[in-house]
Amino acid sequence: MERWILIGILAISILALFFLVPKNKAREAWMIFLSLQIITWPAGLLAVEWNMIDYPIQLFSFANEFNRSSFTFEFFLFPLTAIMFNLYYPKKIKKTGTFFYYFLFAGFFTCLEVIIERHTELVNYISWHGSYTLITVMVTLFLNHTYYHWFKKGLKGTETNE
């Protein structure tokens, strides 16, 4: 059951990548995907190291023997969320709207995680809390977006739009 959820998440993610990322944005998507891992890798490890969160069931049954941070969430679902977040980031919007946009994405991600934590063995909060996810995801998205915004200035075809 749990593994099917993971496979479902992976399948939807791959389909979303395929249909929602235009060909000419491939480099931007790569850049977001790769730069997000720089944050999620140490952060995910720290959360496990400090016994805040646990992932009893992983995609591969042997995974927990040598790495206990979540492969699917931190290295696939979250980067994918960030890709969508940045590629569809509203350009002409006021500050409150921006906050709402962050809240929407982080909220969606948090709701998903809380539902999964309640009903399955995929995630297990020890001293972690849903609100921590909300805040850390928002901060991470902000850092990632700032980097993306800067990086984009060096990409062809985007510098004229600014």
């Binding site: 790569w30 016994n51 790495n67």
Partner: protein, 159 residues
Amino acid sequence: MNKELVILIFSWITCLFLLIKFIPKEKKRYFQIIFLFAHATAWIFQYIQVNIGLVSFPYREFEEATKMSFSIYYVVLPTFAVFFMLFYPEKQNWMRKWIHYLIFCNGMHLYMFLVERHTELVHDINWHWWFAVTIDLCILYLVKTFAFWFRKGLSESSD
């Protein structure tokens, strides 16, 4: 302070210093994306290596969370990849390119070899020089292919 920690701190400082000092300012996006790609690739390769029991890492930064090494794959190997691309002899013939690959593969492995010999950071189980070098070669080739593709979309390094 034990010597493992000293080596890790020394590696971090050296890598950051070299990266800041030698990366040309006008091409920083290009080399940053190389660093990021190399990091992701090195990490996947490490995942596989640990999984099939080729290497182990007795002294780790994240003792509980993982059996994998952190700093070496987070900063040291990506730095090697950045310098590999920085000095890549693009306009020279294939012989010169091969020599370039071999220098960097062996350089990467020499670092790992010395660390393995003298510290508890890395422990080889089923690991041979030629095998390590072949894997490093594959990683560097992937990095090069990705970097050359990515470069086409960058306005800063279209030379």
